[in-house]
Symmetry: C2
Subunit: 471 residues, 2 copies
């Protein structure tokens, strides 16, 4: 038995997690949302890799809209991560192909591990041990999946049926089983099938060669995109040739067709925290089965997940319910129907409700803002600017702004003049004036912005210069 | 048959309506809350009396904390109302005695109608006709109750058992029946019993005489309080002798003991809108039995009352549920357990939760304010000042304030200097400065106030002069 090689994690950061609405939204994907306590699933994933020396620095494949969020959350954890930006999401085949091709150009013999960014695996040591086994199984050029030993006959996952022995480690994949019904799921488990957790180990060069055999057009598109890749504010931005890659999953395009797939069983606690029922299952509960986050009062409530972002949530005499309260939207649904939240979000999207996709707090490369009040001709926002960051140099045609610094220090540019504003100081920006807000300090800057005018939407902005390429 | 005399309505504005939490709270009682659409129950009550010429200008008996709200809401309806302020609430015996004594001093032969401020009676003409009948029944000095023909075997109300004929109108009260169980309620209705709706007609002098027979100490306390009553900013404030009146209901102290009680049956739609189940019952519903107020998305929901003050409320797959969302607190409970909300509020009060009693929006004699955001050393409020009103001349030791006018015109006093601020103008008030905010205009004034400092509670205020007697 050889030592396991070092493994480069490839973290897939696509997907939005519509079933975890309203905490997760299109503009604030599940992997970045604080679903279970403080750290996001993406941050937990980073820490899981940082915890074991067998892992090299991870590569995160992210969409254009999530790139600053991924960088910011990685910075918070202190884990160095290489960020590869897709010009547009193309499902997992294109993302995995890009990672394999990128790593193969550096070292075809390198081993990589494809890993979703939004799963929960509390036992880091057990996880690392299974990855080490999978890496050994992939040493001969096979694509080595990690199949999780099923903890329950779940109908929400696909299953992997192990076949003949694949040598010292693992077994050949006999078949992939689609998401089953409940009875079928129990039967699959009895027959030794494993959950497909989306974890795949491969050697970069041989993995890429196998992808080329199954999906040559994806490799061609990705190679061209890598040839045209540019450094974009510290990330690697793939060229637009990437858009020629077919929009299909890696499972459908490669794993289900190849004869090089093997599976290594992993017997660790695992969850895709895919819906509120699963979040409830993974949460700490009281004797009545109630899991509460935030200010919650529960009276004679049973088996509920009660989540209060800010406001007080009171549940009286309810059972089996999810109550998810966020600053701008509330969800009430039975935990047993948590899977249907996706359909609810689709219905709201069809109705044109902005809450379907947009969070109350809007994240920007420099920090975030949130509308805290609005009236007929005014809007009030709270803005937070990260240390060292600045907004674009900008102008509004239709609105004036009052800024009051409530935390930290602001550097304000107004029609060419620069001044420092401290806590409890304010400045007025008339409509048409050219202005910029920067945080020159070491702590986060927070300001209250009162906008007045006849038109107060986000698109009344002329960017004259920007650190984030938006001018 | 004689013509009905003119009737002076006496509107009882005590009580808070804990079962309608979180819309109704101790500081924003049910009768003033927009429970069913725009107008409050108190305003609907005023309009009901204004609609029939048989009614004289009403008298409202209010607590000290509700007096400005009552005056403001009356002004909005355009109905002239005389406001009598209790120094402290003493239940209905004291309030009704005060009204009877006050009216008797002016005209002992006058007829009055005791009326709760928080009930729903949509058919104003039918109501007026029954009051006219009750007034005739009271012409001989009897206390004439209006008993509502029961629409369902409710367990939430007391019942009145009619006895022998009382002459041309009404019957003598044979007995009062306490709130019954469901089977007993059905039996009571079959036996001809009527709901006790708290509506009592009497002639002032003779009614007062009967109260004196049953509860002489109440009349003594109230007469002394009337002797010492003062004009208080346009209301009649009873003297502190009022506090000597026993704390007991008019029903217990007088109606259940007297032999002068008669009952006139009223066959009109009536509701005490006492809990969310009753609000749901009185609301317009869709084909699935869902009543929705505000921005609501309901998917496969049945028989629910869904109320969204501001935020989007989404209900998926729930049945028989009340979801009541307010800016600072949310309630989720089965409609069938709506009566238990009172116990929930008591539990929260015991836990010291401010949301149990205090609304997000705090009403003041000059208008209202609401905290829209807060952080470690800052708080942001939105204030509305009614036309012609002003706040106290005041000073804060620990906080500075930034005011931005977002609607209307402000007259700002700052350390003796007075200036006018228009929309989109701002002013800074350092801690310790003596300041005042007034609305000299014809439309409501709204400002955004950003407070900064180490201590930001309401009690950091020194009032130097005040239009409302608070200095």
């Amino acid at each position: 038995m050889t030592d396991a090689p070092q493994v480069t994690p490839v973290i897939l950061c696509g997907g939005a997690g519509a079933r975890l609405w309203p905490v997760s939204r299109r503009d604030f994907a599940k992997q970045h949302a604080p679903i279970l306590g403080g750290a996001s699933p993406f941050q937990r994933t980073l820490r899981r890799f940082a915890a074991a020396p067998m892992f090299a620095a991870p590569i995160a494949i992210v969409g254009a809209e999530g790139r600053f969020m991924a960088a910011e959350q990685a910075a918070q954890t202190g884990v160095a991560v290489e960020i590869v930006v897709e010009p547009e999401g193309r499902d997992t085949l294109a993302a995995i192909t890009a990672a394999a091709a990128l790593i193969a150009r550096r070292d075809p013999a390198a081993t990589l591990l494809i890993a979703p960014s939004d799963h929960l695996i509390p036992d880091e040591a057990a996880f690392a041990a299974v990855v080490a086994a999978a890496a050994r199984a992939a040493a001969n050029g096979d694509l080595a999946l990690i199949g999780v030993v099923a903890a329950a006959p779940s109908t929400g996952f696909g299953y992997i049926r192990p076949g003949a022995s694949a040598g010292p480690v693992g077994r050949r994949v006999a078949a992939f089983e689609e998401k089953p019904g409940a009875a079928r799921a129990a039967a699959l488990i009895a027959e030794g099938c494993l959950w497909n957790a989306g974890l795949v180990c491969m050697r970069a060069g041989e993995g890429l060669a196998e992808i080329r055999r199954q999906a040559p057009e994806a490799v061609a598109a990705v190679e061209a995109a890598l040839d045209a890749a540019t450094d974009d504010l510290g990330a690697l931005r793939l060229g637009d040739a990437f858009l020629a890659a077919p929009r299909i999953s890696f499972d459908h395009a490669v794993l289900e067709k190849t004869d090089r797939a093997v599976v290594v069983a992993g017997d660790f606690a695992w969850s895709d925290i895919g819906d509120w029922r699963e979040v409830w299952a993974q949460s700490e509960k009281d004797a009545q089965g109630v899991a509460a986050e935030g200010p919650v009062v529960a009276l004679d409530a049973h088996d509920c997940y009660l989540r209060a972002d800010r406001r007080l949530v009171c549940a009286l005499g309810v059972e089996g319910l999810a109550v998810i309260d966020t600053p701008d939207a509330l969800l009430v649904a039975p935990l047993a129907r948590a899977q249907e939240v996706r359909g609810l979000v689709a219905a709201m999207t069809a109705q044109g409700r902005p809450e379907a996709a947009q969070s109350a707090r809007t994240h920007r490369p420099w920090g975030w803002y949130e509308t805290i009040d609005r009236g007929e001709r005014f809007r009030v926002k709270r803005l937070q600017v990260a240390p060292g960051k600045q907004l674009s140099l900008q102008r509004h045609h239709h609105r004036a702004e009052h800024w009051v610094v409530v935390r930290g220090t602001a550097e304000v540019t107004r029609d060419g003049a620069i001044s420092l504003l401290h806590e409890n100081e304010s400045v007025y920006l008339s409509s048409g004036c050219v202005h910029r807000l920067a945080n020159p300090g070491r702590i986060a800057l927070e300001i209250i912005e009162v906008q007045t005018g006849a038109y107060l939407e986000e698109d009344d902005i002329v960017r004259l210069a920007d650190d984030f390429g938006r001018a």
